[in-house]
Amino acid sequence: MTSILKKFPLNRKQWALMKVLISVSVIIIVILGGLFLDEGRIVTNLTNRNSPPSIDNLFGTDWLGRDMFTRTVMGLTLSIGVGLIGAIGSAFIALILGMAAATMGRTADRIISWLIDLFLSVPHLVTLILIAFTLGGGFKGIVIGLTLTHWPTLARLIRAEVMQIRSADFVQVSQRMGKPRWWIAVHHILPHIVPQFLIGFMLLFPHVILHEAAVTFIGLGLSPHEPAIGIILSESMKYLSSGMWWLAFFPGLCLLMIVRMFDSIGDNLRLLTDPNGNRD
């Protein structure tokens, strides 16, 4: 390994690209695995209950004899899916409000700043519980809750970015030429914030997944029939005192690794797109 690295030394940016590629491929493998894994492995199998991790069952089996590895991979796929929907929704709200705050004049800016403050002034988890309660829990409740709670920080970021671009010469010229506001927003401002937006979206992802798992763990999220990581962990709590540590350890660790990978994709993309990003 080291000899290969010596022969082809990678610079910082190449390393970053490498990390992004590795993380993306791992995530794709997990998703494909979750979609195509044999459902037969998670049917109840009472002859093989509560067995600790082995070659056959990498993460052990639970009290119904279901293979924990299969359940974990499926749970991860579900988490990524929910996270994706929540993050996309949040990111679009952030994009629209951030752009509106910066281009539609002072009143719009005030209102949107006030809205951002409004959503930041209640702890995320409390808002999520409230929304999940209102919508009666389940998939719809959690997705809407996640979408509505995660946009404020990104909206702030986009607003600041747009403010900066707005004072640029090409925007000023375009304004003098009498182009309408929305035209300028779409043709001059939007292309400039696309990288920021994508990175912000990637960095939103880990938060969304973690909150999804947390709300599901509490019992207000996805229904207990779905193989979500939060469900697996909250079920495992009953069995921890009898020493079945593998029920909680591996699923959580996998969730941690997936979240960390999304985080590193976002961070490394920022490094790649930022011309001044080469210093620490």
């Binding site: 209640v122 309660f133 947390a214 207000l220 941690l256």
Partner: protein
């Protein structure tokens, strides 16, 4: 001169308070609308399993008694005026006034959050400073790696791990509950309480370190790159003395501000930690209220946590203005 600054500070707090008031009213209104539209029927939630014994006439009577049949704005005005006079209603699951439940539960949570807040703040600060002083070495790398990993760790999973290690394997601590089971309330000693506090507090402290540490590291690197540190180094200062004379005061303030501003995440963490360790705090009450449809308690908690977060942000702003001599100087001119 001093008096003038104080007046400025008071004005600042008043302005913040006004802003807070508008936000609070909006939050009350929105959350009221939200819970009103929830599919859970308040009468059914109140009566519970005896629902079969209640006929439609009795049901209408209860609805009339509570005013559930009136238009939503009228209901909101009723509830709003009651809240303003300090009456948040009666919790359905605890059958006690919401204010009492929140007060009692919050004291438990406060013990938990305060200890975690102090411990994570101090440890995080030290880690950040050490990482910055040893920038680029393996110590720095380990601390950075650790913090980034922690930032993506689910709090409740960390709680479960700690539970497995300390309560199940080592059996140093009890598995759950805020007080020992089967002991009368008046017999619970302070030691018992502390013993049940340690594991959730440890969980919160471990997870809470990351933010402060990374932030402090960045600030400390900026300080170390400054001219006055270069000059101090040229005079031969190094190591701890350099940090003590030139670093500490410059880095401590942002760290304190950051800690105060993190009340929102702290409470979110406390909800999860309390759930894992079944610690009887406000977080557990929040979850119970959500799961079992206790609307008055849920609304009360939303209002209360909003104020809690607001106090944190206000303290962050004030600490900046009061502690930093430079902002004081700046405003004199």
């Amino acid at each position: 001169m001093r008096k003038w600054i104080d007046r400025k500070l008071v004005l600042f707090i008043l302005w913040k308070g006004l802003r807070m008031a508008t936000l609070l009213v909006a939050i009350c209104f929105i959350s009221f609308l939200l819970v009103k539209n929830s599919p859970i029927d308040p009468i059914q939630a109140y009566i519970g399993a005896d629902m079969l014994k209640v006929g439609p006439e009795q049901r209408a009577k209860i609805a009339e008694y509570w005013g559930v049949d009136q238009p939503i704005m009228v209901q909101f005005m009723h509830w709003g005026s009651a809240v303003l006079s300090g009456d948040l209603g009666t919790s359905m699951i605890y059958r006690r006034p919401v204010i009492d439940v929140i007060g009692e539960r919050f004291l438990n949570s406060l013990a938990l959050m305060l200890s975690a807040w102090v411990v994570s703040g101090v440890i995080g600060f030290v880690m950040g400073v050490v990482a910055a002083m040893k920038k680029g070495t393996w110590v720095d790398r380990i601390i950075k790696w650790y913090c980034f990993t922690l930032a993506s760790t689910p709090t409740f999973w960390m709680g479960l791990l700690i539970l497995i290690v300390f309560a199940v394997w080592l059996q140093w601590f009890p598995v759950g509950m805020g007080v020992p089971a089967g002991v009368l309330a008046e017999d619970v000693t302070l030691m018992d309480r502390i013993q049940h506090l340690i594991l959730p507090a440890l969980t919160l402290s471990i997870v809470g370190v990351a933010n402060v540490a990374l932030h402090t590291r960045q600030k400390m690197i900026d300080v170390l790159a400054s001219d006055y540190v270069l000059f101090a180094r040229a005079r031969g200062e190094q190591g701890f003395m350099l940090f003590w004379r030139h670093g500490l005061r410059n880095v401590a303030l942002p760290a304190i501000t950051l800690q105060f501003a993190a009340f929102s995440e702290l409470f979110g963490g406390a909800v999860l930690a309390e759930q894992v360790f079944s610690y009887p705090g406000l977080g557990q009450a929040t979850v119970d209220a959500g799961l079992r449809g206790d609307v008055p308690l849920l609304l009360g908690i939303v209002i209360f946590t909003t104020m809690f977060v607001f106090v944190g942000n206000l303290l962050a702003d004030i600490s900046y203005r009061v502690l930093d001599p430079r902002t004081r100087e700046g405003r004199k001119a």
